[in-house]
Amino acid sequence: MQEFSRRIYGLENEYGIMCTLKGQRRLSPDEVARYLFRKVVTWGRSSNVFLPNGSRLYLDVGSHPEYATAECDSLLDVVAQDRAGEYILNDLRIAAEERLADEGIRGEIHIYKNNTDSAGNSYGCHENYLTSRTDDQSRLSDVVIPFLITRQIFCGAGKLLMTAKGPLFTIAQRAEHIWETSSSATTRSRPIINTRDEPHADAEHYRRLHVIVGDSNMSDYATFLKVGSMACVLRMFENPEIDFRDLTLESPVRAIREISHDITCKKKVKLKNGKEMSALDIQRIYLDKAISYSERFGFNEEETRALQMWEHCVTTIESDPLQLETEVDWVAKYHLVSRYSEKHDISLGDPRCHLIDLQYHDIDPARGIYYHLRSKNIMKSVCSEEQIVAATTQAPTTTRAHLRSQFITAAQLKKRDYTVDWVHLKINDQSQRTVLCKNPFKNVDERVQKLIDSL
């Protein structure tokens, strides 16, 4: 088993889109997507491009704009790059609305960073962690799945769910849409871990752990904690001296829903061994293990920061989960929805409560409720405005993304026809010169420099 001194992280978000006029739908999502991507196609001659900040932006299945961050080897970078995606999409929204106006079409475009619509469709937020080829995949699943099912208590985005018994405030957007623990499926039957083996790196050494159970977070504190706590768990897993207790759940798919439906975080779910534990109990076990790991072996600086945030959240949830409104999306949303319904004496089933649930995720700073909380410093933030704005155009300098960024910037400047993906940089001329970059940690490469110099 290989332990990583650095690890590559990446986040992918599928966004929901809509165009309305006075509350009525104006254009179909397909049409909205076409307007949004007009600017992208002009720039990159395709609706599937890699941007100068190293990210990938494209139209995915179901007309969802998808933004995948560049390879990051720092938690702060991945948080900034993820939020930069919101800024980039918001710019596309502004350009698309101008075009609509030019064509005489009245309407506003909305882009949501969430995971469900009002008809029960779901789209995802996927996390990527570079792991070792030599890992025992079935042991890895056993170790991380109980963690991934229960971490929603601090990284769920919250969802007002209509049930047969009436409206219910639930913790996680994705909980209702997960049907398996691990498989290669995505749309047909969504698993917690997607096992498709595409490392985007040297397959002899690496794998890419693809986690698709998570919610899209608006709170960047929550994003940092989501990726950072998982990084701590992976580091412990990779240390051969560490054994994990068997916390396998009797029915993971039932448990993820039961946990999501319990805002006290303290109701018990069944384990395979017959015992019963709450999501909080299970998180406490992983957390205590990480704290003692930190004393024995130490984590790196960012993992240590994530560990402190993790401990803060678990400890607060032990006394009262509803105290986490400045850190955790579902708690912030819960307070907004419940206090709004009290103030106006309406039920949680009222459309205005559902609207708050949805509009929390609007990425337009003027309309998005999360953005209002952020601008008033009501919610904690881990990265500055300057860091986010920089991340919209600059790739992380410490990974392969740096090479891709340099190549794209140079090729655009020289107006050359080129093709890139996660591992290839290619010039589309007679020579068809291609550089294969199999090491995601490598940020300097003579071959790439030569390729750039030849442009």
Partner: protein, 66 residues
């Protein structure tokens, strides 16, 4: 934060400036401030919220993704 972890890790977010005599009091004051901030936001939220909530929410239909 537990004592155990405090010994082993330094917290980059917190710089101890002075001894705070009554932590609970400070925490309560912070909570009150936060509550006031949220109240303010709730007061203005109606001006941010889309009009025609029911139609708006029902219009939000996507295709499944991933």
């Amino acid at each position: 934060m537990s004592e155990k972890i405090r010994k082993s890790v330094s917290n980059p977010e917190v710089t101890p400036v002075e001894v705070i005599e009554d932590l609970a009091l400070v925490k309560n004051a912070q909570a009150e401030n936060l509550k006031a901030d949220l109240d303010n936001l709730l007061d203005e939220i109606d001006s941010i919220l889309e009009t025609n909530a029911e139609d708006f929410v029902n219009s939000y239909v996507q295709k499944g993704g991933e």
